[in-house]
């Protein structure tokens, strides 16, 4: 393969890795928005907490002497459960009491929750960077293919695609998924037909938070360090991805994440990494000019 082509493939995989993480986090934003019409600004912090829980459990399991793959899987499961519990609690504390309040009120309480969680982690875990166990280091080399793709990236991309497939199955073919879609379409009607809205909303938060935790453990293992602030940029980028794909649309969030990740990687790889953010937001602006509701977003007629 000529040098320019292999470089192209390499950059493509960079973008795919980054984009799949964005997609995973963006799903949390878009699911909550689809059901409640609310932007959960504390979502980036749930991601950060997932990373910390992953760190704590991975350290614990490695002291217990488990094999690496078991540490990785168990730490990720623990992070999912823990983050899910945080997501549930955040909804109960910050959003549920405000469900009938004007739209700005839950937005403010979301920002408050985000600040609270960050400060809490600073107090409980310190503001320093913490080393995250490098669990991908023992992965076997990919041979000739290793020039294009790191084993860690392969793990990230496959995990994310498996998780996405599972999520689509859950939304499309299970009872919970149908209840979610029903509430997203018309909450009152769904409730009249016997759907337990509170339960489904809680479920949505738990699910979104667990996805964020998966992303957090994957990327922290890859990057090797975390601190209280890691949720900030990821949160902004994932939110951008959700808007890009059409907020409220599950497929849109996944597609938006990939488009954003690939745009950034190609901007960094071929132009300058100084401008990767500029290009990411330029793509957002362009798409919103031509498709104001995002790539896969449905156009809603404002009811008067």
């Amino acid at each position: 393969m000529p040098e320019w082509a292999s470089y192209l493939v390499e950059i493509f995989f960079s973008g795919l890795t980054r984009g799949s993480i964005y997609a995973l986090i963006a799903l949390g934003y878009t699911m909550v928005y689809g059901i409640l019409g609310l932007i959960n600004f504390a979502h980036g912090e749930v991601y950060m907490i997932g990373a910390f829980v992953g760190l704590i459990f991975a350290s614990l399991f490695s002291i217990m002497g488990l094999p690496i793959w078991a540490i990785f899987v168990l730490a990720m499961l623990a992070a999912m459960v823990w983050s899910g519990a945080y997501g549930y609690t955040i909804e109960q504390v910050a959003y549920k009491p405000l469900r009938k309040a004007p739209r700005l009120a839950p937005l403010i309480s979301a920002i408050g929750m985000s600040i609270f969680l960050r400060e809490y982690v600073i107090l409980a875990q310190s503001a320093d960077f913490r080393a995250f166990p490098a669990m991908f280091e023992s992965l076997p080399d990919l041979g000739d293919f290793g020039d294009f793709l790191q084993p860690s990236e392969l793990v990230i991309i496959t995990t994310v695609f498996v998780v996405l497939a599972g999520l689509f199955y859950l939304i499309k073919f299970t009872k919970t998924g149908r209840a979610m879609r029903a509430i997203a379409q018309d909450r009152e009607m769904a409730m009249l037909l016997g759907v337990d809205a509170d339960k489904v909303i809680s479920m949505t938060f738990i699910l979104g938070s667990a996805l964020a935790a998966i992303g957090a453990v994957l990327i922290s293992t890859q990057m090797g360090q975390i601190n209280y602030n890691i949720g900030f940029i990821v949160g902004i980028k994932a939110f951008t991805a959700a808007v890009l794909g059409g907020i409220g649309s599950i497929g849109g969030a996944a597609l938006g994440g990939l488009v954003l990740g690939l745009t950034e990687a190609f901007a960094a790889g071929y132009l300058s990494s100084d401008y990767e953010d500029v290009f990411a937001f330029m793509v957002l602006v362009l798409i919103l000019i031509f498709k104001p509701s995002g790539l896969l977003g449905k156009h809603h007629v404002e009811k008067v």
């Binding site: 950059i11 960077f129 790191q150 990057m223 940029i233 990494s273 100084d274």
Partner: protein
Amino acid sequence: MFVRPLVLPLVLGFCWFSTGLFAADTLKIGVAGALSGDLAPYGIPPKNAVILAAEQLNQQGGLLGQQVEIIAVDDACKPEMATNAANKLVASEVVAVIGHICSGATKAALPIYAAAHLPVISPSATSPELTLDGAYPLFFRTIPHDAAQAVVQADFIKDVLKAKTAVVVHDKGDYGKGLALLVAEELKKRHVKVLMVEGVTPGAVDYSALIRKIRRAKPDVVAYGGYHPEATKIVTQARKRRIHASFISGDGIKDPSFLKIGRQYVEGYYATSPRDLGKIRLTQQVTEDLAKRNQRPGNFGLQAHAAFSALVNAIKAAQSTDPDKIKQQLQSQQVETTLGSITFDPMGDVVGAGFSVYQVQNHEFVDLHFQLK
């Protein structure tokens, strides 16, 4: 490097020592700097350190058979006050000036000292052009200028690492970008090819696109301007992708957590950083003596003490207070100070108190004792 919070001074110093009484017997040395205002915490410790040094010198019999008298003036780090302060010192017939503290104030005061033909040694003014433009041949400083770190890095890259190509990466911040761009400039002057200059967003999800770009460019050296968190991420990913280029950064990465988080991946990483002064005997002594007076060396106290030592040494060696003889001695004598053994180069910049190059070896920063030629 790091911006320290400014503490408002509790005591606004009134620092006029009576002149005239011993006019005939004393040898006057001026100290100028911010003694009031927001920046007083930078100016008061140098004044205290010089007064301490002068008192100790007087106990040992003074200088050229005379007692040394320190005349301290306040410029609040403001250029317009600095000219007044300089005029006062000139009118008091000082033989030399330790100061000023801030670069802006120093720049404003220098023409007045130049007209009076007075030697001036600043402990803290780091703006490069003060010495480099050559307009004030009697101006010296005991602190390396802002571009010095970049010069050290570039020299090291060229002379020790023998690099032909380099990639410069920074974190887009004031410190990191400033340093990285200076390094790139200095490298070009030394005919090291700068293949690309790239900025990263701190906290981004991953840097693999940039890493792949660096791998494709195949540089001999990667110079990173920024702080330790991004430096560890970049070098870790680079090493995992079998990039064998040498990495070098500034004092922003010389932090214990760089070693802790970077583990085996930061082995061999180079860092320029100011010398560690804590191990110098004289420095320990001065710090203790200041502590007895409830004073601390602060940011620039040791530099001021060293400036005074160098000045006293030069006057002794010259057996005169003639400015040109002082200048000649400053540039030829090697003198033991709180900054170690120092002298001054023809431009007036300190030699020996600048930046050192460290390398990570076995999870520790080891001083390579690299000296500029």
